[in-house]
Amino acid sequence: MSEPKTLFNISASPHVRDSLTVKRIMWEVNLALAPATLFSCWWFGFAAIKTYLICIFACVLTEWIIQKARGVAITVDDGSAFLTGLLLAMNIPPEIPWYMPVVGSIAAIGIAKHTMGGLGHNIFNPALIGRAFLLASWPIAMTTWSEMSSVVDGVTRATPLGILKLHGYDQVVSTFGNTATMYKDLFFGFRNGSMGETSVLLLLLGGLFLIWRGHINWQVPTVMIATVGVVTWIFGGTAGLFSGDWLFHILSGGLFLGAFFMATDMVTIPITVRGQMVFAFGCGLIVALIRLKGGYPEGVCYSILLMNACAPLIDRVIRPKKYGAGGK
């Protein structure tokens, strides 16, 4: 009888595993955001680069300090704190004073993520909590946009949705010159707004990459964007029902950023695909409601946060179809 030279591993089955890791998912999501990030660095210039670096650095450092202090494993290399920093930066104006993103990062990682127990345990999307925290703390700075040349006034400091809220739809169109230019500029990202939200094209590319890699599904972004489109088409016009400019609504604000990268944040949304579709529908509905009836020009951030709060409830009600349930 030959005795084994080394001890065998006798852990439970299965004994083979897929090579996909949490770390790889997170870094691939970061990669998917790269095109839109690089575009915004070019479009908004040095201020944007600075704000990105501050957010990412502050988020990663906050996570490192908290994990060090708690005496738990340091997992900053998993890319999730980096992703939170990146997403937070994409959701704020580029020319914000430097200390505000630092506070936002601490709120995102410290409060939204680690008070709940860290990665996988948070109820709310950390980056959006960071943004909401900043919007509540410094409302003026958070809505002071870059100076941009405009067809009408020569210079503007407003976002298209801001102009819509204050001056109406015709003013938005005249800012861009005509509707064709408006759609084109919105699609490519040549407009004012939060740093990472402007280029619909590049966000869409990143989102399609994630769908192809299997990290997000197509249902969530599709349902959320379609809901916004349908509701704004029906109720968004001035000439009665079904006169709204749905295309303007889905191309503006942070809808693509939210629908592809934050309403798909696996930690904070329902776990079944059917539940996720209900979640996405709710997000779209709230976005449209805030934009059309609310005090804020834009509602993507709050819509996702509100639906994050509903996710456990949705999971309780909507369950996978169980094998054998149809039997006696």
Partner: protein, 445 residues
């Protein structure tokens, strides 16, 4: 479009031995017959130290219904009856036989005249199966005569043979289907007669077109239908197989017979044929010896009582230190502490996996990605079962998350990017549940 089910995963198939015909291997000097090669009551040795035994002779038996006789798989002398390593139960009472290398059959075996199975009654068929010690050879080792004894009030309509062989690496059923298709079909017909089934279906994954063709040819004129299945794990798990080939579902907490279905492995059908036609008990079977650490992976005929170490030696030994030794496939097989464990009746595969193949990584927090929910063929939420398992909250898992419906196929663990040991948590909770039930019973007494 091949038939399939919701969920499942597709691990690399690794069927490296698919083209290799089965080989006979040398007999070792000693055989180690565990008295428990099945699910159910252990057998008691019917021989004593010093006895001479012949091939095919019963050496351990019991009156208990849910059990299966143990037969010697070669001739020799009983040298010891003692506790020895067992691949499933850790240790087990074992009859150790020193082989005389003459390999002599018990007088009268195999039968000189093939038995006419069509003249046998269902009860007679079941009696032969029981006497031959036949158990489910896919790995579960549930005694076959218990399955063919249909309880009063139930009837079996579908007789389903499992030729899916959805576990990676394993090719023993594939080679059996190619080599002995007539035996499988006849064994199935005998089984159908025993339970009065009217419909016979054989599910085979589409990656074995030669096996599908071989069985279709052998089944000509019998009314037995071959159902090609999509290549996906766990296509061959009992409940999913039933769903796919018959369109029926086994009710939650129920048995296949509740849906009027009996499922048997193709190797079991061949063993039934051998027992009924030739009188040969279950003492040998096809097994795949494979894995990255095995020098010459092959399909071999193994006999019960042979040690894994002997079989590895017959396959050229190891090329590198194995990380895991498995009885069965990599998805549901059982990891061994030593290579000196004996072959039992459910040994469909003997694998030696390298560290690279097992891809072990530290467990992290669940990020609720939902991949396990999509993979689960039973429609459960494995991520929540794992979190409840961490807390030891088996009550909630049982009552709200259908813990007891989990078949432990491992699909969820395979896809989990956080490398969570979900199946282990499920087993822990099932164990806690049984413990509590036992305590409750004791308290009442």
């Amino acid at each position: 479009m091949a038939k399939t089910f919701l969920g499942g995963v597709h691990p690399p198939e690794q069927k490296i031995t698919a083209k290799q015909p089965v080989e006979l291997i040398e007999l070792p000097d000693k055989f180690y017959y565990s008295t428990r090669m099945h699910i159910g009551a252990p057998c008691e040795p019917t021989v004593k130290v010093g006895d001479l035994v012949k091939k095919g002779q019963i050496i351990a038996a019991t009156e208990a219904f849910v059990s299966a006789n143990i037969h010697a798989s070669t001739s020799g002398k009983v040298t010891a009856i003692e506790s020895f390593a067992h691949p499933v139960f850790g240790t087990c009472q074992t009859v150790i036989v020193e082989a005389d290398q003459a390999d002599e059959w018990l007088v009268g075996l195999p039968l000189s005249e093939p038995r006419d199975w069509q003249a046998l009654s269902p009860a007679e068929i079941t009696a032969i199966i029981r006497s031959a010690g036949i158990v489910g050879m896919g790995g579960a080792t549930f005694p076959t005569h218990v399955k063919t004894t249909v309880p009063p009030g139930k009837s079996i309509e579908y007789f389903v043979l499992n030729g899916a062989e959805c576990e990676p690496y394993l090719t023993s059923d594939h080679r059996l289907m190619l080599g002995e298709p007539e035996k499988i079909i006849r064994g199935m017909q005998i089984g159908m007669k025993a339970v009065g089934a009217t419909k016979g279906l054989i599910g085979i994954e589409r990656n074995k077109p030669d096996a599908i063709a071989a069985l279709a040819k052998a089944a000509t004129g019998t009314g037995i239908e071959i159902v090609p299945l999509k290549v996906k794990y766990p296509q061959g798990a009992e409940k999913t197989l039933i769903q796919v080939v018959t369109g029926k579902e086994v009710p939650s907490g129920g048995l296949p017979s509740d849906a009027g279905v009996l499922v048997q492995n193709v190797a079991t059908a061949a063993a039934v044929n051998d027992a009924v036609i030739e009188g040969i008990p279950l003492i040998e079977r096809y097994a795949t010896v494979s894995g990255g650490a095995v020098k010459e992976p092959k399909n071999v005929v193994v006999r019960t009582g042979m040690l894994f170490s002997h079989i590895f030696d017959q396959c050229g030994g190891f090329t590198e230190e194995p990380r895991k030794i498995l009885l069965g496939g990599p998805m549901m097989g059982i990891a061994q502490q030593t290579i000196d464990v004996p072959v039992i009746k459910g040994t469909s595969g003997i694998l030696a996996l390298t560290a690279a193949e097992t891809c072990e990584q530290a467990e992290r927090s669940c990020i609720r990605c939902g991949k396990c929910v999509i993979a689960c063929p039973m429609g459960l939420i494995p991520s929540i079962l794992s979190v409840l398992g961490e807390r030891g909250d088996f009550q909630t898992a049982k009552e709200e998350y259908n813990l007891l419906d989990c078949v432990e196929c491992g699909s969820c663990v395979y896809v989990c990017p956080a490398k969570r040991n979900i199946v282990q948590y499920v087993r822990l909770q099932k164990h806690l549940n049984i413990q509590q039930a036992t305590r409750a019973t004791q308290a009442r007494q």
